[in-house]
């Protein structure tokens, strides 16, 4: 409050109109299709390959990964042109699981890289007891500083890795029945804000 009165006096002294404001873009999201090759399922001993016994046996399913390109830099750069002190934060990374094709997944790691910058983690996920729900939503781990560095300057590559080191034989058996490619979508949302102080 004190600052605005100092600001007002300064504007009055110089007989000009001034504006100081915070611009907030609450949510810019990009959704891309992603597809994974269905992992090869290890052999399950015969005594555990029935519905009655499959929950008592765990298998280590190989990791599978895929990459997709997102580009939110245009929206971020437009805000950067009018605002100072731009701050960008990744709000969410989400992978659709409404068809249950990823119910066998224990954990997910998502990394981001660009042509000029090495891959760093952007989000990590550990499935709750009972398995993933309809949406796999990893916890965002990337910092605000890295967010603007990786997402604000052009296309970025998201690398999604699915882990299943403790899948039950039941889940492995379901996985065997799935098609060779698992298709879904990945959604990345960021928020941005900046300050503007101008003479009108």
């Amino acid at each position: 409050m004190k600052n605005i009165f100092i600001f007002a006096i300064a504007c009055a002294m110089f007989s000009m109109a001034c504006a100081t404001a915070t611009i907030t873009e609450p949510s810019s999201c990009e959704e891309q299709s992603v597809s994974f090759s269905t992992p090869a399922v290890p052999t399950i001993p015969s005594q555990f390959d029935s519905v009655a016994t499959c929950s008592m046996y765990s298998v280590n399913i190989p990791d599978v990964s895929t990459t997709t390109t997102v580009d939110l830099s245009d929206a971020i750069s437009k805000l950067n042109k009018v605002a100072d002190n731009l701050s960008v934060a990744v709000q969410s990374v989400a992978i659709d699981n409404s068809n249950g094709e990823f119910n066998w997944v224990d954990s997910v790691s998502v990394g981001v890289s660009t042509n000029n910058l090495p891959m760093i983690p952007i989000a990590n996920y550990t499935a709750p007891t009972g398995g993933p729900g309809e949406t796999i939503q990893p916890d965002v781990v990337i910092s605000a500083a890295d967010s603007i560095k990786y997402l604000g300057n052009g296309p970025a590559t998201l690398t999604v890795v699915l882990h299943a080191q403790n899948a039950t034989a039941c889940q492995a058996m379901v996985l065997k029945t799935m098609p060779s490619t698992l298709s879904s979508s990945a959604n990345l949302c960021v928020s941005a804000s900046g300050t503007v102080s101008k003479s009108l």
Binding site: A8, C11, A12, C18, T22, S27, C29, E31, Q32
Partner: protein
């Protein structure tokens, strides 16, 4: 911060009105006025002087070319205690809104609306009990909201990208309103 101003403004108005409601034998005066300025636009105002000349509350219908809105104000005019004085200096606190609306003829562009709080110092030309012209100016806090921002991207052909509706919060210094009021003694 917006909620603080709204609550503070409402409490101050209620305190001022109740404090003077039964204070003395001044009659209640109502009035009407017209004014124009930023950010309210054009306004048609109904005023109430609750048994005192030095406090006034008002409600106005505003129009800013985009949409109709509303404005309420509390005016404290101590110089009105000298009713024959043809000039006055007073404080005016106003809160108002303009709903989100499209720019006429440009439904393809995002809608814009705003809420605002004016903290004005003002000059009154004329007596407080009769016709007078007001000139108000000071800082304004605004919350500007947008809607349908996604339409800009849809029209530009961008796909897969969804943009939320940006908001702007901050101060503009100065803004102004000028207009007249005609009080009527009941």
């Amino acid at each position: 911060m917006k909620k603080f101003f709204v609550v503070a403004f409402t409490l101050l108005s209620m305190m001022a009105v109740s404090a003077v409601a039964a204070a003395d034998d001044h009659p209640v005066r109502i009035g009407a006025g017209l004014d124009v300025g930023l950010p309210s636009g054009g306004a048609l105002e109904v005023t109430l002087h609750p048994k005192a000349d030095w406090v006034r509350v008002s409600a106005a219908l505003t129009y800013n070319y985009l949409s109709f809105g509303g404005r309420a104000s509390l005016q404290l005019d101590p110089m009105a205690l000298l009713p024959k004085l043809p000039i006055g200096v007073y404080a005016d606190v106003q809160g108002g809104f303009s709903p989100e609306a499209s720019i006429p003829g440009h439904s393809d562009l995002p809608q814009v609306g705003y809420d605002y709080l004016n903290l004005y110092g003002a000059l009154r030309f004329g007596t407080a009990r009769g016709f007078h012209w007001n000139l108000m100016a000071g800082p304004t806090y605004m919350h500007i909201s947008t809607n349908n921002f996604q339409s800009v991207l849809s029209n530009s052909g961008a796909s897969g990208l969804k943009i939320g509706n940006p908001t702007v919060d901050g101060w503009i210094v100065p803004t102004f309103i000028t207009g007249f009021e005609i009080p009527i003694t009941l």
